[in-house]
Symmetry: C3
Subunit: 341 residues, 3 copies
Amino acid sequence: MDFVGSHILSVDQFDRGDVELVFRVADRMEPFAARQKITRVLEGAILSNMFFEPSTRTRVSFGSAFNLLGGEVRETTDIKVSAISKGESLYDSARVLSGYSDVIAMRHPEAGSVAEFARASRVPVINGGDGPNEHPSQALLDLYTIRKEMAARGATIDGLRIALVGDLKFGRAVHSLCKLLGRFNGIHFNLVSPPELTAPDDIVDALKSARHSVNELFRLEDGIRDVDILYVTRTQEERFPSQEEADRYRGLFHVNQHIYTEFCEPNTVIMHPLPRDSRTIANELDHDLDQNPNLAIFRQTDNGVLVRMALFAMVLDVVDQVERSARDVNWYTAKRDPGRT
Amino acid sequence: MDFVGSHILSVDQFDRGDVELVFRVADRMEPFAARQKITRVLEGAILSNMFFEPSTRTRVSFGSAFNLLGGEVRETTDIKVSAISKGESLYDSARVLSGYSDVIAMRHPEAGSVAEFARASRVPVINGGDGPNEHPSQALLDLYTIRKEMAARGATIDGLRIALVGDLKFGRAVHSLCKLLGRFNGIHFNLVSPPELTAPDDIVDALKSARHSVNELFRLEDGIRDVDILYVTRTQEERFPSQEEADRYRGLFHVNQHIYTEFCEPNTVIMHPLPRDSRTIANELDHDLDQNPNLAIFRQTDNGVLVRMALFAMVLDVVDQVERSARDVNWYTAKRDPGRT
Amino acid sequence: MDFVGSHILSVDQFDRGDVELVFRVADRMEPFAARQKITRVLEGAILSNMFFEPSTRTRVSFGSAFNLLGGEVRETTDIKVSAISKGESLYDSARVLSGYSDVIAMRHPEAGSVAEFARASRVPVINGGDGPNEHPSQALLDLYTIRKEMAARGATIDGLRIALVGDLKFGRAVHSLCKLLGRFNGIHFNLVSPPELTAPDDIVDALKSARHSVNELFRLEDGIRDVDILYVTRTQEERFPSQEEADRYRGLFHVNQHIYTEFCEPNTVIMHPLPRDSRTIANELDHDLDQNPNLAIFRQTDNGVLVRMALFAMVLDVVDQVERSARDVNWYTAKRDPGRT
């Protein structure tokens, strides 16, 4: 795809070459995100951060990524704050608001709304999540994390063995990640879910016809052996027909240090799209793993800044100017181990 | 008026020379708002954007205008977030908050509140709308748009023929625009409204005594022939005594491409203060006009950035420094046709 | 204490030397806060301003202080906007969000929550108030104001005579100020409160064992004679057993110009942590004092910017670079009398 001036709406836009290009640009953002260097390449540019649904993490990540490139951020964080509630069409909102900024990052609770907005926008729009539909920068940061973690182990994405655990029926993050992984070669998928929450047929069929190996499993201990990546998501318990039925599976989807030690290979990487639900009733990923160096969940969110910086730089066509204007950071920066949290 | 250090509270502050001065400065902001050039003239300055009532459009427009001049923006978007709800006087809020910024843009639901705030503020305050009372930057951007659209047709504001359509009784935007137009010469006003929603007598009388031509009309097709500008506003249907009565007028105030073609001169400019209500029940300005090149509603909001940049630059006395520090934009910018949407 | 890279969570961290160091740095911030000069020393740095409880004043003060040093601000202003409401632990929020910024300012309604957040954060955290517990920058700005006001009268903090008036039992600001004052020598405290709302024993005992003079009084006119500083707080009337009992004390704690003239020494400085409750039912500090040059309440909030700039500069280790990069302000700035409001 041609990134310059493009909307980023769906992982379907990205072929393998596109994904790898984003990752190479993201690598170059590391010194800036790690506060070793600063760049002012987007000084004077404005991001309109439009979040019509709460998401502190994604909103601040987009905003900080733009700030790290030197740009300014104008935010809208509440749909009730918007003229949309007064009967204004998305078309009008897009035409108007795209006159106030150079690029827009947008989250909206309704599937398709961000694409509809983008059609009327006069500046590039990046989808920050449109309900159950798409959240492409999340899938890219997940895959970017996998690539980095595997590289640290001397391996690549090709040939990866990954367990995806939890609600695979409704989980937007898992669907998009599967699509992106499907662009690579010889991936071994363990899809671990309750029988009621298996991955949609079209996802599974597409992986199989691209000659990936796909195992659908219902018990945690069956699925998490012999994998490089253990990707945990929350079980959407409220979707079960009854609480009793939900209770049947809860034990299977509680990952903690004990289960990790008993069933996983020693260096298995643990991932989660976050937020993890740490209430006792859910707790799909226990805090007793917080000191485990293979827990990559905070490296994921750190990588999100790199990927979003890359997308902004590519869409606004400043990739090759970023380093040219770099200078050293002159303030105290906390030690951030780039390899380990 | 002397703009430097002044509050901008009301269109009553502006004589014709003031209006024309603002417009000449706004013209000079075009390359910056169009992202051809950037300026950092207000680098280090802080705008406090205080919106005690929701208004995404106006809030982001003020904020982006300030960013485009190089300044920073601190925002407050919810009156419940404020100490005002704990019994603090507007006087205290103004004294305190004016210590945190160089200029304040403020919207508040109560008439007169922004002026009261300004009296206690130690920095200039720009009224971004105080309930039914004033919204001077809206009136200025409307008139600036009229000037530009007429100039593209080889004409001026003097001698303008304009139809103002909709709720002329309560519409703040229309009242302020009439006042500003009244400073010019030989304006022909067609005031088209339901009989219950005619413009206030003092507005009409002032226009007549300044020797403008004023026709009050009740049917859309009578009012929109032979005008240069068709300025549509929403009908405040909820103010009618009954829904049946409201229904009698609804057809008259629904402007669409068919009505435009049948009744208007070929190049009549269509304006609206936005947001337009696109729900079927209202729909005073139909989306079938969106491709009509004479639809100026998005040029209006674009012009709003220019006018607000001009006001900031004039109040903070940096007009002549803006171009001095200009440099070219180095990122991708969408094609924005300055003449047509 | 070593400020570089430290969390600022409690006044207990500050010994007298630390306090005096903060004040000397705050003095150097004056030309920047007064918009005589600008510095860009933190250009490229990001403050995450996380307010999980409304506080316009403190939030904007932190944000403006960071902007005045050249940094950018990303804000979160509503706990419902946060993943915390979806079962995310403070630990996760802190790990994630500290990857997006260089320093965090945080307010939270629960005592201890900011310290808990700080333990997991990878960047320095400044406590902007954690419920009834601590608000160290408020105590520092109060004491900094006292130092400045006394210096203008040729005096020092040592030997200060101060009346603290109002709810001394629950008032967080008063407790912290007492602790900081206790680090100095020979302070004369008049603690004026209703009998039900006297200061906690541990506060009073600590002051006495440090050989300060402490008088506990119940009538306003007994406590406000012979003091240099009259520090008024709101009476938390809702905590009284009955409205009748609350009514008994209301007159005592209403400070106005008449009472000031009758009972106070001519140059007694009037302070208040703000917001003051100006509703008739409360009105602990009357607006008829607004023109009194000894009313220091708005100098307090102005000083808050200086103190917060100092804390940011010290924690991020840029104190000695601030002036090096200074340049003159080139826009209109309102006259701000640094000595008098």
